[in-house]
Symmetry: C2
Subunit: 142 residues, 2 copies
């Protein structure tokens, strides 16, 4: 009954394997170059791409837990990639913005990500790529 069910066809397994494999090389890039962790790169990306926002905003947009973001923000601050600014209206919030160095790192990594993405999907034809992204976005609930 379940004898023909192969783990290689089990979607969560496949997705994890593909995610791990595809992350590995890019991870090496931001790790060796900027000493960043994955969450740091994501926070940097969100601020670089969408501009100033609070930690909470990043949590919501990126689907990350607040402790992860909190620690990533601290790390990026120590690397001088971002600064915090109190929001007068509500002092629980801190608006986060990238420094010059932060913007440079973002620009570099974003360009690299784009190249990397292109290389990764080079073997697929355009409608395969679109379909792949659509399927993944649906599964991810984005």
């Amino acid at each position: 009954m379940t004898d023909d069910f192969d783990i290689k066809d089990f979607l969560p397994y496949l997705l994890n394997q593909a995610a791990d494999a595809s992350s590995l090389e890019f991870q090496h890039y931001y790790k060796s170059r900027y000493g960043m962790l994955r969450t740091e790169w994501r926070v940097l990306f969100h601020l670089g791409r969408y501009g100033t926002m609070t930690a909470k905003d990043i949590c919501t947009r990126a689907g990350l837990h607040k402790t992860k973001v909190s620690r990533a923000v601290t790390a990026l601050e120590q690397k001088r990639f971002l600064t915090r600014q109190e929001v007068a209206r509500d002092r629980r919030h801190e608006s986060l913005q990238l420094t010059k160095a932060g913007h440079r790192a973002f620009a570099d990594l974003a360009a690299e990500a784009q190249r990397f993405d292109a290389a990764l999907t080079a073997g697929f034809d355009p409608d395969e790529r679109d379909m792949l992204r659509r399927c993944l976005q649906q599964i991810a609930g984005l």
Copy 2:
């Protein structure tokens, strides 16, 4: 130049989000029911589906590091889901086999995985499903 590059289109990001989202519910199942970790479930699956083999075989087939497998085997042994058996010919190897309880757990989880997989892809039509799996297998290097 890179201003229009959205992280939601970056394949490693998408793959990770989709992998996390899709794993969550199933993970909850084997965790609450059998107290298993992800690696334990994978080891269990390999032994249940492909029969007796050594830890090394599982490493190779599942693309897992030997320390992970070693710990998972210890954990599954303590749960009485598998037993080890020395290989006379070469005492470095240990052949691993599921116990009755291990087989039961495998059957239960495999059936659940199958249901879960079906539910996950219910929104896609057949050729989308095939393409998705093919793309993922290629990216994962399987």
